[in-house]
Amino acid sequence: MNNNTGFGAWITRPMLITFAILVSLPFWIDSVGLYQYLGVEIVIWMVYALGFNLLLGYTGLPSFGHGAYFGIGAYAFGLSQLHITESIWLGLICAILFAALGGAIVAAFLSHRRGIYYALLTIAFGQVFWFLSIKWHTVTGGEDGLLNIPRPDLNIGFASFSLSSNEALYYFVLALFVVVVIGLWRLVHSPYGTVIKAIKQNEMRTGFIGYNVWLYKWSVFTLSTALAGLAGGMFAMAQESAYPDVMSLHASGFIVMMVLIGGGMVSFWGPVIGAAVYFLARDLLGSATETWLLWYGLMFMAMVMFKPEGIAGAWQGFIKRGDASTDGDKKPVTR
């Protein structure tokens, strides 16, 4: 606990390995039978899942309506491009801010709730946003959604790049992913991260040693919805459209599944693994059978029944068995 100061604390080896794999992805993804755009989707969902796991894995708060904030981000990006001006930064900032605003309001209702009541209220609020997106035609375009959202050039002051190719877009979302990963890694090892982990384990005691549990629960929800908004904004940019589907209960359920299958409850990298597995399953199983959801659902059930710690948990167990004699203090904490 007392090593790793300075550089080592910000960037770790698993991080470098992950980044290296993802940076090289466009060079080999075609040759394994997949396609460039899949990489974009996966990385966007990784950001979404990482933000979601801050809430589920680290704070132990189950949200089943997170799709709403992803959707708000997507619509905010689209509306800002269509009605204000074409700018990536404006679009993404709008996406983050509006999703966080929605999240902050909802969190104010949620944050003195626990367990199932918490989950139920997130569903109710999620459905309200989903409904709005369908019914508020004049703004959201109803069930069809917003179409023809422009994908503006990336302007970084001295230079401007076109993101119209999927490779260029991929490296842009990957850059944001890198920023999010480094930021979140730091956050979960900060005092704030320690407090939210404490709330997950024992909310009452956290209050009794003097923490304002409500404020932490409120802020972590808001933070998590801001990241969902960022992901949603990127998604609207990638799809060049925004539609209500991503806000449905099903879509919200998928993000929970991804995080859990990957092992978000026990590992920082769980959501990253889970998002990749989900999309690979969708494309690989989906090309083999029309009913891939059946197999994915069965796989998920088996996972919950036999390995609720997910893929990362199974990996940790495997490593632990391997070097149990040399290293005694590996812990099953989310870190």
């Binding site: 606990m1 007392n2 790793n4 100061t5 604390a9 730091r186 956050l187 090892h189 900060s190 005092p191 704030y192 991260g193 320690t194 407090v195 982990k197 404490a198 384990q201 024992n202 009452m204 005691r205 956290t206 209050g207 009794f208 040693i209 003097g210 923490y211 304002n212 549990v213 932490y216 802020s219 203090d329 812990k331 099953p332 904490v333």
Partner: protein, 247 residues
């Protein structure tokens, strides 16, 4: 004036009166005890004093300030800390993390999202001191959830101590401990007694009589008598009840 005072506390659950006209005061620097048979209202009393429940009537004063009905968080920040009878630790954290999170410097930086917890040398030192006090310095990096029962009891007290309390409430600290472990705990509390104002709720009379400067006896939701251990030994009611024989 006493450091901590409870005046005319009443508490009901539904139509059952659990506490009736409780008056207590705890002097600074002393170790006070609250004893009484199971179901006498001790634990409820404790929960009302430490902010877990609000009293229906009555006042709780700390250092002359009315703290009745404040949240546990606000009360903790005033310098009152408590341990729990039913173990209440952060089981997935290591021993030192359990203590660290309760340290006020860490608490004040709770919303800091960029600093590394482990790099906070002052807070780590403070946590190490607390672990030494409760005798867990050698187990600092073990998982709290996998500690033996007696060590968990000690850690329970350690977490309460780490908040740097001006007043420390201990809820049945010997609960579930064997004779050896109780004796060790006795020594620990004797040490702490020099540095802290302590209130202990206990049904192990021998343990309490050996430590406390004064004791209040609660039965049927009321304070039926109070005094030093010697006075209580001489008290007729205590003698005639089971409590006296045990002491």
């Amino acid at each position: 004036m006493a450091l901590f005072e409870a005046q005319h506390l009443h508490k009901r659950f539904g139509d059952r009166v659990v506490l009736e006209e409780i008056n207590l005061s705890f002097e600074a620097g002393q170790l006070s005890g609250i004893m009484g048979p199971n179901g006498a209202g001790k634990t409820t009393c404790f929960n009302v004093l430490t902010g877990r429940y609000k009293p229906d009537r009555g006042k709780v004063l700390f250092d002359g300030q009315d703290i009745t009905g404040m949240t546990p968080r606000a009360i903790a920040r005033k310098g009152i800390s408590r341990s729990f009878q039913i173990m209440n630790l952060f089981d997935d954290f290591s021993v030192i993390e359990n203590v660290l999170i309760a340290v006020p410097q860490v608490r004040d930086r709770g919303f800091n999202m960029t600093r590394r917890v482990a790099a906070d040398v002052a807070a780590m030192d403070k946590a190490a001191v607390v672990l030494e006090q409760v005798g867990l310095q050698d187990k600092a990096y073990e998982n709290a959830g996998s500690l033996p029962y007696g060590d968990r009891r000690a850690l329970e007290i350690g977490v309460a101590l780490a908040t740097e309390p001006r007043l420390l409430f201990l809820d049945e600290p010997t609960s579930g401990l064997g004779i050896d472990a109780t004796a060790r705990l006795s020594e620990l509390i004797l040490e702490l007694k020099h540095a802290y104002t302590i209130v202990i709720i206990e049904h192990d009379m021998k343990f309490l009589f050996g430590l406390a400067d004064n004791i209040a006896v609660i039965h049927w939701g009321q304070v039926i008598t109070r005094g030093t251990p010697d006075e209580l030994r001489a008290n007729k009611w205590v003698q005639s009840s089971n409590l006296g024989k045990l002491a």
